[in-house]
Symmetry: C2
Subunit: 439 residues, 2 copies
């Protein structure tokens, strides 16, 4: 197909509402569609790498299962007539040329590593759909203007290591962190075919990409509950995590009267309740969680003298996180005064929020509408490689429903039809970005 | 001294209020007293076995430090002209003959094993004071009517193993339990010189002992706070322990809205508060503690799907424990209904309460008054070997103050003068029991 037949239909964010004039329309006037059956078959096929007896997978980054899954992905990429390679950070990057040498590449992809006892959809859907999109382009003889790159990021679940290396957010001392596979990040990168000593060369600069798209399962229950097809991600929430230490005084649980205790766990319990109450006290979709807790010395017959727990707050608005944290800290101080205990907060981890590009959101909405799919604009409460890519260029994310909102579990499930829909929205959005000479 | 000069002054619980007529009064009319300086020097000496750099001791039962401490004790017993031996359960039992062959032995003693990073007083005070009492009798040429036995029980801290073997409460399958030293109970008993294959022969029957006395530090702050010298233990509280499992649903902390969560830790936090509130809602000295807690999977970014914690209730009145537990269980069910979680309780451990003998309490009060010491009748919130001995005969316990109520800690401390007072009350009470031909 000659691209001159079809001019750009998008200027300054204005998007065509008709497929009719698009340059990549095949002869019979139908926009291209992915092969949904093939995509779902590939998803079934990849689930054997690290399969758990009870269902789901444990495909920890840098494990043998991860390596085998990546080899499978490399094979699919070659079948899709892509040219895959491993970058210095260990990511798989598969290239396809575009027709306009002046344009930066459009990237799309996801990851295939999993949490321990994870599911078959988190990451896999986006990775295999990206390959399916590229294969569809190849099969239908569509040459994009932008070069395209299908990316499968390494070690997303451990902390977006592959994508953060590329966005320049990975610090050198993180390379010695030990991943859940038991390997250090550096050893893991070597294992995957990268070179941690040259990892800085994997970095790309702001503006080096024309855009980034990622399809992913929602990992929440909103779309399914509201019977919607597609989530248009307005941004990935900011995350702040703290380690909270409650200090009281350990004493004999038999001999210390109730009114003489400095019970760190009683104070921590009031703290857990306060976090829930404060986070829910203001309107919005912010969440707050205490996910880990341990009491010391930790015997049934000893009043806990110390409790260490975590606090995590997430919201699209980083300032709201700061406000909520301030209220929680004040309340913790008050709780401590009640029984002579004290609270100390240590920052563990911080991710600033990453808004998606409004133009991309419009194109996703447009593509969904053309496909007859219902949509909802929503935040991503989970972190994704897309948030690292948002540092480099315009980013968009497409969600499909997760049954029951279950994720990071063998019970994670997305319907084949939703997966096909998601892949078609990915394809259609990509073509719209390309059409618009997106930068 | 001829015992015929002094008749029994105690009949049917009536106790003489004067020392003047006691048969064991030395020529000059002064009741015998222990050598307090020597006793406190021995306490300092034993503290080197298992001494921690930061103070206190780690003298775990069946450890080398325990063995060395016991060898030290054996030496002190021989200096006190006792005849020590190791019984089949690994306890040290040191005998001294009495003059009346028709009387059963009076036992007194304690233990010398410690918790990890414990103090220098828990157990040691009672053990070394018992030896000092026996030495005082020998030095002052006092022959009791009852045979006496100074006992140093093995592995009190691990669960009253030595005394429960003797009272017949130890079950055979407990011998395979692994103690904190790393040895099984059976291997530990062999290590100490006992014979676990013949442990049943260490058992004594109800009525085989004339009585049991134990001096111990209070391990609570009541005596010190109220500036009292001696605690007269009215009984050792009953203890019930449960493992509590809260089941919710683990989910992604970023993607699961606050109102869609089945957070097991939020429910457990409300449970911890409820235990405290319910236990304090009725008058009395009952205590309730949640000492151990763990959330699963236990990651900062995962809503806990399960929490396992402990519940412990103690009171002198076993029926009150049952009542409080019923209220706690009902409240737990209500808490679970609030957020779709459920509570399951599994009994971990149960000790029925062990009242002391009222006649012995009267004699302790009498002895204390004669020594010019103030007293308070109080429960023992802690478990002691005395509770096992209460199964075999009349039991009495004497408490001395613990500074700040601190115990099971290197900061555990009792004043030398209080230790000497306690040993003198032990001696005087023993002589009164002997005088009364106690059975």
């Amino acid at each position: 197909m000659n691209r001159r037949e079809f001019g750009s239909v998008l200027a300054g964010g204005l998007v065509s509402s008709s497929f009719a004039r698009h340059r990549w329309l095949p002869a019979r006037g139908q926009p291209p569609r992915v092969n949904g059956d093939r995509l779902n078959a590939h998803l079934t096929a990849i689930s054997r790498f690290g399969a758990n007896p009870q269902g789901g997978v444990t495909r920890l980054a840098y494990s043998d299962a991860d390596k085998l899954g990546r080899d499978f992905v490399l094979g699919l990429m070659r079948e899709a007539r892509l040219e895959p390679s491993i970058d210095l950070a260990g990511n798989i990057v598969a290239r396809r040329s575009g027709s306009d040498a002046s344009l930066r590449p459009l990237l799309f992809g996801s990851h295939i590593d999993s949490v321990p006892e994870g599911g078959n959809y988190d990451g896999n859907v986006g990775s295999l759909a990206a390959i399916e999109v590229a294969r569809t382009l190849a099969e239908q003889g569509i040459t994009t203007r932008h070069p395209i790159q299908v990316v499968v990021w390494q070690n997303e679940e451990g902390g977006l290591y592959g994508s953060r290396a590329v966005s320049g957010q990975l610090t050198g001392n993180e390379l010695t962190n030990v991943s859940r596979s038991g390997k250090t990040i550096a050893d893991g990168i070597v294992f995957l075919g990268g070179d941690p000593t040259r990892i800085a060369e994997a970095r790309r600069r702001k503006g080096e990409i024309a855009g980034y798209l990622e399809l992913h399962i929602e990992q929440g229950g909103t779309l399914e509950r509201e019977k919607l097809d597609i989530g248009i991600v307005e941004g990935i929430v900011g995350i702040k995590q703290w380690e909270v230490t409650v200090s009281g005084f350990a004493n004999h649980a038999g001999t210390t009267p109730m009114d003489q205790r400095h019970d760190a766990l009683l104070a921590a319990a009031k703290f857990v309740e306060a976090v829930n109450r404060i986070v829910r006290s203001v309107p919005g979709r912010q969440v707050g969680t205490v996910g880990r807790i341990q009491a010391y010395p930790g015997a049934p017959n000893v009043i806990p003298g110390q409790v260490v727990c975590t606090l995590e707050l997430r919201d699209l608005d980083d300032a709201k996180i700061v406000t909520l944290y301030g209220r929680i800290e004040t309340e913790a101080r008050r709780i401590g005064e009640e029984n002579g205990t004290s609270f100390a907060f240590k920052s563990l981890h911080e991710n600033v929020s990453a808004p998606s590009d409004p133009r991309v959101r419009t194109l996703i909405a447009e593509a969904s509408r053309e496909l007859g799919l219902t949509t909802k604009v929503m935040p991503s409460g989970a972190g994704h490689d897309a948030q690292a890519m948002a540092q480099l260029g315009p980013m968009g994310m497409i969600f499909i429903p997760s049954i029951g909102g279950i994720s990071h579990s063998p019970r994670e499930l997305s319907r084949p039809a939703d997966i096909t829909n998601g892949a078609n929205v990915l394809l259609a959005t990509l073509l719209r970005m390309d059409e618009a000479r997106f930068t």
